[in-house]
């Protein structure tokens, strides 16, 4: 059981480039989340999804887009990378959005130069 997987593990982007961070879960969870963690800060919610076809903004959505075409996949898109998006990105999933445990992927470390 792989849980939540994320690719790539590391990436360096130039300003203005675009990329997609991939996230897949095999637990048949309805809810999926994208967080970012900046140095010395807590995790902040970027976007979340309550099921296939349904997404909503979190605390810090600017500069990102998401889609949820299947239960398993929840990719995060950066269209015009900026240095402020240098961060570690975590994807997570849970069965429900209530008190169910969120299971996290190992993270993607992104640097924008």
């Amino acid at each position: 059981n792989a849980g939540v997987t994320q690719t790539p593990k590391f990436r360096i982007l130039k300003i203005g480039q675009s990329m997609t961070l991939q996230c897949t879960q095999d637990m048949n969870h309805n809810y999926m989340y994208w967080y970012r963690q900046d140095p010395g800060m807590g995790l902040k919610l970027i976007y979340y999804s309550v099921g296939a076809g349904i997404t909503d903004k979190g605390e810090v959505p600017n500069g990102y887009n998401v889609s949820r075409s299947t239960t398993e996949d929840f990719p995060l898109r950066l269209e015009l990378a900026a240095p402020s998006q240098t961060s570690v990105y975590f994807c997570a999933s849970s069965y429900s959005g209530s008190t169910d445990t969120q299971y996290f992927g190992p993270g993607t470390r992104l640097t924008v130069l």
């Binding site: 939540v4 809810y31 967080y35 010395g40 800060m41 807590g42 995790l43 902040k44 919610l45 979340y48 309550v50 979190g58 605390e59 975590f90 997570a92 959005g97 209530s98 008190t99 445990t101 969120q102 299971y103 996290f104 992927g105 190992p106 993270g107």
Partner: protein
Amino acid sequence: DQQVKQNSPSLSVQEGRISILNCDYTNSMFDYFLWYKKYPAEGPTFLISISSIKDKNEDGRFTVFLNKSAKHLSLHIVPSQPGDSAVYFCAASALRANFNKFYFGSGTKLNVKP
């Protein structure tokens, strides 16, 4: 503006002794709290939770205490083991019927010395 704060970036404890990790929050609507543990190059993993109807929850060596009047929670690890060395995050949420947005602290790095 951080609604959940962990003011100690790091903590060093001798093996076998108690580790106490602290967390403060500002939003009085928060009624559900979690602790996560994170090893390097891995994602956070759930450790223990507590709802506001309780002031203590225990799971083996881990106990979480909640002081609602002080808006403070703490995680006690007794006895501490070298394998407990990790970054610990607290998180808080105001429970809703369909979705809880969690607010995370910045983490405390615990080092348990053999």
